[in-house]
């Protein structure tokens, strides 16, 4: 793995597989950001199961050899608000049952930093691959059960919605990637639907999906949605366009 940072910002680091270890010529970069703040206490095991199921679903995709997955957790309990479970790496090297340890909910919610890290690292690593003639697109999922907290202006994030939007714009203006889909998923966050939709718009995130109240069934659907969306976007790499018909409901 090699390390990078987003836009020269030392607080936003990521890692990715070295190019010499990449066998395919085209990749879809997948990022899953998981909320590990204290408010997920009580359903952290189901949330982890959902992540494991989603990754296992991705492994079954016919394009699994062309996926590079990065998983991060976010909480103010981590330095700079983010902990990278692993950087962009081939699914074959990931064993979700053993690699993903039990979640330990604590701290509050640096949602902006999580979104910025997810989008920024995808673009930075994707740009590097594109410069070396790989064909690359990306998809980002930020899964949260609440708002940036404490609320602005006392919020914990360094990044702002405007910075996330600016970062996303680079895909279009700078041809950094073939395409990038960004999805914000609210789980157990129906109360904050309006605020999260406002954040989605301000940050230039493509979709906000309210997954509703947390149940085992909903989390299973969430996992299924993630793996299907990844598969759909992976089919589009090389065509220059984003995938179509990603279901907007869970």
């Amino acid at each position: 793995m090699e390390a990078g940072n987003i836009g020269g910002m030392q607080a936003f680091k990521f890692s990715g597989t070295r190019i010499e270890h990449l066998g395919a010529t085209e990749y879809t970069l997948v990022t899953i950001a998981i909320d590990e703040t204290r408010s997920v206490f009580g359903f952290e095991d189901d949330l982890l199961n959902s992540l494991v199921t989603a990754v296992e679903g991705c492994k079954k995709s016919p394009r699994s050899d062309n996926l590079l997955l990065r998983v991060i957790k976010f909480s103010t309990a981590f330095p700079n608000g983010i902990e990278e479970l692993h950087g962009f790496k081939p699914l074959a090297e990931i064993d979700p049952q053993n690699d993903y340890q039990r979640l330990t909910p604590m701290g509050t919610t640096p949602l902006y930093d999580a979104a910025f890290s997810s989008v920024g690292a995808t673009i930075a690593y994707g740009e590097k691959l594109m410069a070396d003639d790989f064909l690359v697109n990306g998809i980002v999922f930020v899964i949260t059960d609440g708002l940036e907290y404490p609320l602005p202006p006392d919020n914990p994030s360094t990044a702002t919605p405007a910075m996330i939007k600016e970062e996303s714009k680079k895909v279009i203006t700078g041809e950094k990637l073939e395409s990038l889909i960004t999805i914000l998923i609210g789980i157990n966050a129906t109360t904050y639907k309006d605020e999260l939709e406002a954040f989605q718009a301000d940050a230039g995130i493509d979709q906000y999906i309210d997954a509703g109240e947390v149940t085992k069934g909903k989390l299973a659907k969430l996992a299924d949605f993630v793996s299907q969306s990844v598969s759909s976007q992976a089919q589009e790499v090389g065509t220059g366009g984003p995938s179509q018909n990603i279901s907007a409901t869970i």
């Binding site: 010499e20 270890h21 990449l22 395919a24 085209e26 070396d132 790989f134 064909l135 090389g238």
Partner: protein, 289 residues
């Protein structure tokens, strides 16, 4: 001492794609016990199952290369190209019979680079394009073309040689094969370095471009292409050479990535490759001593 790396790729052209024909070009490459082989083969469009013939020819040469290198450890002797051809003929004739392939299925040209850490050669059996890129940025390009677009196929050595000679005027001294030479220094335009002509006899034997060690250590890579590189829609063939060999990063599948990206870019301005296209590259790195 030179450390060698290889990569290759081949791609169907728009004509075959739209007419439902298979890709008749083939490419392969390998580093075997520190020596490298990069090979392309181009099946005749008006032959039979030349998609198979081109593969059989290329894989036969790969087998011959391995066999030769492991027993001789010498890629510099004058006789090596002939030794490889002889071994290849034996292997491909046997495979042809085993698979019950017809003579017209075997009509394919072939260009390969057999490079050892001490040097080697490029052997042109038919037509194609050979590129030498130097570490100082200079590129030398040779385009081999037969008169009347009637190239020599190594399979003629097994059958049909007299008909081929007759089709070229029945005179082995006729000049029937040309080598168009171009050079480009850094960012300058390509300079026409003239054309060499070869007799029918020389063409049948195959053109050998020697690469002694003193040349090898100055090279960045040697690339061989099928004539598909000269038939890219709305793109001059020398520009295509430049585009398809501008490797951004030489790790992993560097030639494949460049070619895929190149094809994609050319499809933005036209149909991309009209004919099938194949490319194989030997990259040279000087190991620290």
């Amino acid at each position: 001492m030179a450390q060698l790396y290889t990569d290759h790729h081949f791609h169907i052209g728009s004509t075959h794609l739209t007419s439902g024909k298979p890709c008749q070009d083939y490419a392969n490459s390998v580093v075997y016990n520190n020596a490298a082989l990069a090979i392309i083969s181009d099946g005749c469009s008006t032959g039979g199952h030349t998609d198979i013939g081109s593969r059989v020819l290329a894989l036969s040469i790969m087998a011959a290369f391995r066999d030769h290198w492991i027993t001789n450890r010498d890629a510099l002797s004058e006789t090596v190209p002939q030794e490889i051809s002889l071994r290849q003929e034996i292997v491909s004739a046997g495979i042809r019979q085993l698979l019950n392939l017809q003579p017209q299925d075997m009509l394919a040209t072939c260009v390969y680079a057999y490079i050892s850490p001490n040097g080697g050669f490029v052997h042109v059996q038919g037509d194609g394009v050979v590129i030498f890129k130097y570490q100082n940025g200079c590129i030398e390009v040779s385009r081999f073309e037969w008169s009347d677009n009637r190239p020599f196929y190594p399979a003629y050595n097994e059958f049909g040689l007299s008909n081929f000679i007759q089709a070229h005027g029945d005179n082995l001294n006729n000049l029937r094969l040309s080598e168009e030479k171009w050079m480009r220094k850094n960012e300058e335009e390509f300079i026409d370095c003239g054309t060499a002509n070869f007799t029918l006899s020389e063409g049948i034997g195959g053109i050998v471009m020697d690469i002694p060690e003193k040349l090898l250590i100055n090279l960045e890579f040697i690339a061989v292409f099928s004539d598909g590189i000269t038939q890219i829609d709305k793109l001059d063939w020398k520009s295509a050479v430049q585009m398809f060999t501008a490797f951004k990063n030489t790790k992993g599948a560097f030639a494949k990535r460049r070619m895929i990206r190149g094809i994609k870019d050319t499809q933005k301005i036209g149909k991309g490759p009209i004919d099938d296209i194949a490319c194989a590259v030997v990259r040279v790195e000087l190991a620290e001593t």
